[in-house]
Amino acid sequence: MDVDLIFKIAGLGIIISILNQVLVRSGRDEQATMTTLVGLVVVLMLVVQKIAELFELVKTLFEF
């Protein structure tokens, strides 16, 4: 089981929330929003690959 993915996503979430706080405090709200958005897209790419893998597995296993 690929447990690294969970830690990767959790770490990215914490780093991005810290970056967000720092950027908001220094008055760069737009950059903070963009950072959150980019982080979300990166994590989404990771998760979508795994979801595709799961669905493929279900399809091959049950001969769909």
Partner: protein, 131 residues
Amino acid sequence: MSYFFRIAAVGMIAAIWILLIRKQNADFALLLSIACMVLVLIGALTYLQPVVEYIHQLQNLCQLNTEVLAPLFKTIAVGIVCQIVTGVCADAGEQALAKTIELCGTIVALYVSLPLIKAVFSLFDSILQGG
């Protein structure tokens, strides 16, 4: 069997991470829970592979037609996917979407099992016509 204990540990750790992250940004928490769910399921489904192979062996032993078991497997697949997606939608707070996908899964399961129902009724018909 040790896989199950690993799953339990990973589930607890992921729950703690999700609690930690949810305060800052809830979307990451949702993605993390989806990732954990998918990882656990991928592992569990690989363990289901021998069971499916054994069912195929039994099928060959009974010389059962492939068309009889195919709707069963397809319905299981639809059920699993439907359950996962409904859970994710409910977690994201989209109850209406979850209910719609559940309904959609039911309809698809019915559609998938249609050939089996047809076969049963044609069997009844042949028995009644013969009698």
